[in-house]
Subunit: 331 residues, 2 copies
DNA sequence: AACTCGCGTGCACAAACGTGCAAGGAGACC
DNA sequence: GGTCTCCTTGCACGTTTGTGCACGCGAGTT
């Protein structure tokens, strides 16, 4: 076996080039030529188990891409219905209705992570919000190497008890790693206590730079928060909000949030005091991104989802079947 | 289970739409969500074996597409060498050197069939030659639905003993089926006995129509024939040529043929008498096709391959590793 | 030098998968 | 209505694949 000295330069934990090469070859033999792993092991002079692991590696690292095309004459009823009704390209993830909410989230996140590669490309600015949904997605991303793209954090993540930085930065880092992109953190709390502090912060040059990036995103990626659903979202259980904030939201008729910016059922977000202290981008700013992908799982989030749609925040939707069905059974 | 009356309209042997739908759903669950077939069986209210079969169907019918991307920093040495040296986009199929020639052919054909989908698209005119290589490829094609594309037979297939029509038409039909394309047969012998007959035939309107199609192909697909290799190609064993033809070829310094048109090592094809009686397209005509894909397996065909390259017939090459390696180890 | 830590390997076992086969069901034809 | 044929289904079996574990090697540390 000839030894090539250089390492695979595009992976952070250095993977020997030989491994990638073997994985590539194994993948060819397995997926293009239908050999069994045993046969491949013989060709590569290794054991079958190693081949199994090589193939896992090949899939996990994006060397092998598996995509599913519905024939054009048979796109999911739901997807075309959603397109017709809301002008949103939907990706419906099949999940049985009796599945638990955690299952549902996992499965939607897994599917979402795997189709995200289609949306993210070189030379793009990608805004990512954080929350339980995005966190689940981030754990399943399939690497895809891009050049000159950046991941931009959409909203702050600090709270009363912890800085939250770890949680959010871990999430962002996973995106950065997966796409070989630079990560732009936004080291502020999720909500300021005092709007004035926010304003002051917003005048800082480092903040301005970030806001400027947010203003010219190519892709925005987010979930929706659902303050009053049984399954509370990250923002609503992590000590980010006080009891009185909660009450205020309720009084204002808030149905959800995107990147910690709240809105009502009609999509409006003006006059909600908490937004003055929130760190997420204005919807006006967010809407400048040509592609705005929303990942939602669970019917409990339906009202929030409807609100986000009403606000015109979404161009692409990834959601489970039950939620999609509920969405088109119009209220 | 709701019953939808209409059938899947794009498959010749009618497949119920329900089946495609189930296959699609199974594929999502299997490939996007990593469920086991057991779990999928439960969701679809069927048995695990049926799920296994659904998934096979999904793969075989192109619902699921598996592609392999080499990282851009690690394209096969061979492929980039061939590109640099011959300006040909090569696809090297890994095959161990000690593999038998039949194995080699099978494996190259299988891989070729699976990547062909990338080259053939809607609204295209695709010329296909026939021979053992193309026949092997045709047996593994993965369907891809296209609109308004046509498959055009490049050369006649009759010989002294049989009309050869069955063989060639079966091959062409498989291509047509796989891409949902109309098939244009070319019902003439591989070689006329008398050049005059050919000329007469060439004045027929039906022939002219076909030649006109051949003149504006978008893609041409062919193998290379190798008259003097141990493993004789279809043309050289099927009773298409007489002993004296053979001798004449040898005397003319012929090293191979593409679609029954012969050429020398330097790529020239002028002054080879047999070509006056052959039914394949002139290289001048062939070269009008912007994309000309050649599938070759086995080092025995190397001289023929070199000749075809010298003649400028090839823009894309699909071949086994050994042949590719031999190609760059320049003679 | 000895030790530890991390990583890759093969083994062995369990889980997951493909497929021949027989049974059942839906037309089609008589 | 019968019956013949073709297709689909689930079962059972053998094969193929994933993975915990123990071992061994090499790099870095004391």
């Amino acid at each position: 076996m000839t030894w090539t000295p250089q390492d695979d330069p595009d992976r952070s934990p250095e993977v020997p080039a030989g491994k990638t090469r073997d994985a590539l070859r194994a993948a060819h033999l397995y997926y293009m030529q239908d050999l069994t792993m045993d046969a491949i092991a013989a060709e590569l002079h290794t054991s079958r188990s190693s081949v199994s692991r090589l193939l896992s590696h090949a899939r996990a690292s994006g060397l092998v891409e598996i995509s599913i095309h519905s024939p054009l004459d048979l796109p999911s009823r739901l997807e075309q219905e959603i397109l017709a009704r809301h002008e949103i390209a939907a990706h419906v993830v099949p999940v049985p209705d009796q599945a638990s909410d955690v299952d549902r989230l996992d499965r939607v996140a897994l599917s979402a992570a795997r189709i995200l590669g289609r949306f993210i490309d070189s030379n793009q600015l990608v805004g990512v919000a954080w929350g339980s949904t995005m966190s689940a997605v981030s754990r399943h991303l399939v690497p895809k190497s891009t050049h000159n793209s950046e991941i931009v954090q959409l909203n702050g993540a600090g709270n009363l008890r912890t800085t939250g930085i770890l949680y959010a930065s871990e999430l962002l880092r996973r995106f950065g790693d997966a796409f070989g992109a630079k990560v732009q953190q936004f080291p502020v709390p999720a909500f300021f206590d005092d709007p004035a502090t926010k304003e002051a912060f917003w005048r800082e040059r480092s903040t301005k730079r970030l806001l400027e990036l947010q203003g010219r995103l190519d892709v925005a990626l987010f979930g929706v928060g659902s303050p009053f659903a049984e399954v509370a979202s990250r923002v609503y259980q992590g000590g980010y909000l006080e009891r009185e904030d909660y009450a205020a939201l309720s009084a204002d008729g808030v149905v959800g949030d995107v990147a910690t910016v709240f809105y009502r059922a009609d999509g409006s977000s003006e006059g909600i005091p908490l937004n003055e202290r929130a760190t997420g981008p204005d919807f006006g700013v967010l809407r400048r991104a040509p592609r705005r992908i929303c990942v939602v799982s669970g019917r409990a989030k339906l009202p929030s989802l409807r609100g986000a749609i009403a606000a015109g925040l979404i161009t692409d939707l990834i959601t489970d079947e039950g939620t999609a069905r509920a969405l088109v059974e119009h209220a």
